[in-house]
Amino acid sequence: MFDNVWLIPLLPFIGFLINGLLGKRIKNETVIGGIASAMVLGSFIVSCLTLFNLLSLPGEERQVEVKIFSWITSGVFNADVAFLIDPLSCLMIMVVSGVGFLIHLYSIGYMHGEEGYYRYFSYLNLFTFSMLLLVLGNNLLLMFVGWEGVGLCSYLLIGYYFHKKSAADAGKKAFVMNRIGDFGFLLGIFTLFWYLGSSHNVWTITFTELANNSHLLPTGGIVTVITLCFFLGATGKSAQIPLYTWLPDAMEGPTPVSALIHAATMVTAGVYMIARMNYLFIRSPETLAVIAVIGACTALFAATIGTAQNDIKRVLAYSTVSQLGYMFLAMGVGAFGAGIFHLMTHAFFKACLFLGSGAVIHSMHGALHHAHSNDDAQDMRNMGGLRSKMPLTFITFLLATIAISGIPGFSGFFSKDEILWQAFSNPHHGSLNFLLWGMGALAAGLTAFYMFRLVFMTFFGECRITPKAKDHLHESPMIIVLPLIVLAGLSVVGGFIGIPKVIGDLFGGIPNYLEHYLDPVFKHSEEYMAHHGAHTGIHNIALEWGLMGTSVLIALIGITVAYSLYVANKGIPARFVAAFPGLHRAVYNKWYIDELYDNIIVNPCKAFSQFLWKGFDVIVIDGAVNGVAKTVMACSGVFRLMQSGLISNYAWSMAFGVVVMLSYFILK
């Protein structure tokens, strides 16, 4: 029933090959774009089929492994290319191929006229292939292959405009940061494989076997080390606190790329990985605490930076980092279902926001181009009042903004509120959960603030674009707007499949489909938590309603503040900046984190290696080698001079030799 699963990743790969090898010859853009999108559509259809087949199975057996071929077998270690079909992976392939297809469609229009057209689409298809591989892989090694493949494609796509030095640098930075994460991931795999193998003789890296043998692992100790390593990998990939600086720079790439990779799919790989290995993470409370804290801090921290950015894509980038913080917060508190739910909803509205901003930038770029002015097409200060020029984009953008800021009824609200509730109510980390909830709520407020600030600055008020370009602003073509509309719809409707129980039975017992759907995947951790008395936390309904109310209230406050600052009286922000210049400059320059990294890690590393090369390699080692040669040459010079050419010296040395020999033997 699942034998055509290998088609899902294979179709984008075929697309990549066609466009990669023949792309140069097929000059016609629509053909290239068509092939690429068709392939992703095909894989979307097959994933729907698979989802449908999976749903037809009864609850427990929803876990099927399909082996394609055995990849590496050497001694005790063997890894083969095989796919794991279970509710989690089905959900992910649906999201990836669905959103991916929409973004492919969108980029046909958006990338119109670019000279590396075929190269863009082949990389995009390769990305989809790697992401599907990551999600479908049934063992850690195959997931790692997808993991690095995705990192590679993000490097290629960020560096798409390679003639721009900043794009190339951003690509390299992204790849290196991911690579640091992969270092952690690799260590996790090795420790897990070694520990399970050497102490329990279970030589495996496949998820199903790991799940079944997870009871062998002791809580804390080695498991904490393993899970921390995996978490390091996750932070690298999903841009959490220590390793997030590459995401804002990744905006150098084309906007659909940011939408697909840096919003919907790749960055969520970390979350997926933790969800996939929930039975490991649940066994070490310390790691969960770390994840939760980092998630919350990232959410808050990124939100603060988002408020002060002027580039439309930078704001969205920091918003993504902050939303990812939320997902990790959910994972940290053990609410894996909620995390995945937020992942899905975030994919919809963030993709919609990015594509919307792309549409805005596209038309701004066109207009400025006509007016031959080289203002920055992405700077919000040059925009304003676009709602009349681009009504459809405005509406979809507004819907997505409402979703993200957590206004009830929209998808954002359900998933974010679920996370906040779980954060508040879980007993794992003692008093920590109040702090977590607080940070989460504050971040939600800030999110609402900067999202609406963005909306007001771009779509409301008078148009600040250079006068000549004003009349060239026009709605984007249908191929760009259509995906916007679908995504906006999804971001509105998306929330209903996972309505929290409290609200559900208010409206006549609508069950939380998602929770129910994802149960088989998280049953191990559920049992473990039940075993350890996790859910004895506070359960009264009233508290839940209270919290929900407060979060909605905070969101509304954020919106009103945004409205007052940026629509009602424009002067205040300027005065605010004048009042606290230091704070504003710090926030605007991303708390100088990038400069910090450069001075602590990058420059000293360069200096040290310069020293190593010039100092150690050349002077010490080469010096020693040449030194030996020089000393030999020197004493050869001395020996040479002993040869004075005088017979008496020669005779003397002979006689001396005889005398020495004789006396030695006599005295012996």
Binding site: I72, S74, F183, F608
Partner: protein, 558 residues
């Protein structure tokens, strides 16, 4: 047919003889003929590959008496097993490509250049297939001569310094090994071993204290060749001065001679000493990885950068070897092949841009991707393989080495080595970005032509192999697995014994030549351990837990 091995080895020499008849002026005929010879050799080696049954025995063995004088009996004893099979194939595979790459590179004295290449091929193949240690030593030294001439005559500016340093550096190491060879033979002849074949010596129980000295001599010679950390300074000089084909062969095949030496001679002959030295050599390997990566980051010359990168890669291989388990060994054997392909390809690429711009400084390039798109894609694929991105061959080898290392006692070494993965990405991508991306402002770069048909023909097989070995490495691993299992089974018990039982008890101190008591003049380290004399006929008591009968290959005629 049983003479295929000698045929493959001496086909290039046949080519050399025929080359003499071709006049010096007709360069293209010379190049064409040499290419044909190397191609035929490659086909012959494919015959070996297909005829090779996957088991741990030596196959295609030829054993003909050669020198029998005085205490020594040397036989022309050659054969190929799982370990050396792929290295021979790698040699015959790389040679035609490097010959092809000299079409525009070498203009003057083409005939001598081709002769050097062919002699080099013979000595390399010979070294890989020789079972007789003396024969191995002869090929081991013979390969230095053609490389010496290639670097010396067709090299860069200060080629004389580089080539002299290369020759003497390797020579000192190998001469110390010669003394160890002789001493080993003396021990062997006392234990009744008839000739120089290495198989007999595998079961010779040597007293651990002697083993330490002997292992040091062998390890030094091979460490210089690998090159390991402190002894690597000859490699960057040799590479920057060598012509393209020369440095391709030097990097792709000659460096493997060092690691092959460890696998074939140093470790199996002296298991206890190998285990005792494992931490030290692993530390040097890991330092090598990090140190070479860091130094590579700040290089201005592309070729030097690639040279240091190969020091780092081979650091990985050494780490894998000293893991003493099947994954580690398989990983390092695979990494030897991968390194041969990826670094060989990298040097070819550097050669292409050198032929066009006659400069190797990174600062002279920039923005070539727009000017030479095909070149950019191939360069990108090879860089990824060198970094070890999954899907390419580099990853499989590195992963196996690290997981093998992690699983053995060298756990913390493997952790540090994994960080090497990051540095590999840093210096390769930084170089790639400075050469290929960025503005195309240098006028000279604007006129560069993309790769022509010949150059693409060179790079295509390499790129295909990169992906094939990355996606489906099993056929390669299958062929070498039994031989590696046997090797690990041979080495592993030595470590248990060394730890559990005190050295004196577990290995009967055999083979220490009963020498007339000599006064202090000769401070040789022959220990005073009692020299229990083994019955002459019996080739040494096999170590516990290992196949009793020493594996004497079936058709070895006495």
């Amino acid at each position: 047919m049983s003479y295929i091995l000698s045929l493959t080895t001496f086909l290039p020499i046949l080519g050399v003889l025929l080359l003499f008849f071709i006049p010096k002026e007709s360069k293209s005929v010379l190049r064409g003929f040499t290419f044909a010879v190397t191609l035929v050799t490659f086909l012959a080696s494919l015959l070996i590959l297909f005829g090779f049954q996957t088991n741990a025995e030596f196959q295609f063995v030829e054993n003909v008496p050669w020198i029998a004088a005085g205490p020594f009996v040397m036989r022309y004893n050659i054969g190929v097993d799982g370990i050396s099979l792929w290295l021979v194939i790698l040699t015959t595979f790389i040679m035609p490509l490097s010959v092809l790459s000299t079409w525009k590179a070498v203009e003057d004295k083409v005939k001598e250049y081709m002769i050097c290449l062919l002699i080099l091929e013979t000595s390399l193949i010979g070294a890989f297939i020789s079972i007789d240690m003396f024969l191995f030593y002869i090929y081991w030294e013979l390969m230095l001569i053609p490389m010496y001439f290639m670097i010396g005559i067709w090299g860069g500016k200060n080629r004389l310094y580089a080539t002299m340093k290369f020759f003497i550096y390797t020579m000192v190491g190998s001469l110390l090994m010669l003394v160890a060879f002789i001493y080993l033979y003396m021990l062997g002849s006392q234990a009744g071993i008839p000739d120089f074949s290495v198989l007999h010596f595998y079961n010779l129980r040597i007293d651990p204290t002697i083993q330490v000295w002997m292992f040091m001599a062998f390890a030094l010679a091979f460490a210089i060749k690998v090159p390991m950390f402190p002894l690597h300074t000859w490699l960057p000089d040799a590479h920057t001065e060598a012509p393209t084909a020369g440095s391709v062969i030097l990097a792709a095949i000659m460096l493997k001679m060092g690691t092959y030496g460890y696998v074939r001679f140093a470790m199996p002959l002296f298991p206890e000493a190998a285990h005792r030295f494992a931490p030290l050599l692993a530390t040097l390997a890991v330092i090598g990885i990090i140190y070479a990566a860091l130094v590579a980051m700040v290089q201005e010359d592309v070729k030097k950068l690639v040279a240091y990168s190969s020091v780092a890669h081979l650091g990985f291989v050494m780490l894998g070897l000293f893991a003493f388990n099947v994954q580690g060994m398989t990983g390092s054997m695979l990494q030897m092949l991968n390194h041969g392909i990826s670094t060989g390809a990298l040097f070819l690429i550097v050669g292409f841009i050198y032929e066009r711009r006659h400069t190797r400084l990174i600062s002279d390039f920039g923005g070539l991707a727009k000017q030479m798109p095909v070149f950019a894609t191939i360069f990108m694929i090879v860089t990824l393989s060198s970094i070890g991105v999954p899907g390419t061959n580099g990853f499989v080898g590195e992963f196996l080495i690290l997981i093998g290392g992690y699983e053995s006692e060298l756990r913390w070494w493997a952790v540090v080595a994994t960080s090497g993965v990051i540095f590999a990405a840093v210096y390769m991508l930084w170089m790639f970005q400075r050469v290929m991306f960025g503005e195309l402002n240098n006028p000279k770069n604007q006129k560069l032509l993309d790769l022509d048909a010949r150059e693409i023909a060179i790079m295509l097989p390499l790129v295909v192999l990169i992906f094939v070995m990355g996606v489906y490495p099993n056929p390669f691993i299958e062929k070498m697995d039994p031989a590696i299992q046997k090797l690990v089974a041979h080495i592993r018990p030595a470590s248990m014994n060394a730890k559990i039982l005190p050295a004196a008890l577990q290995s009967l101190p055999v083979g220490h030549p009963a020498m007339p008591g000599h006064s202090g003049m000769e401070e040789s380290t022959a220990p005073s351990a009692a020299s229990g004399q083994l019955p002459a006929g019996h080739p040494g008591i096999p170590a516990e837990g290992q196949s009793s009968e020493p594996v004497v290959n079936p058709h070895e005629s006495k």
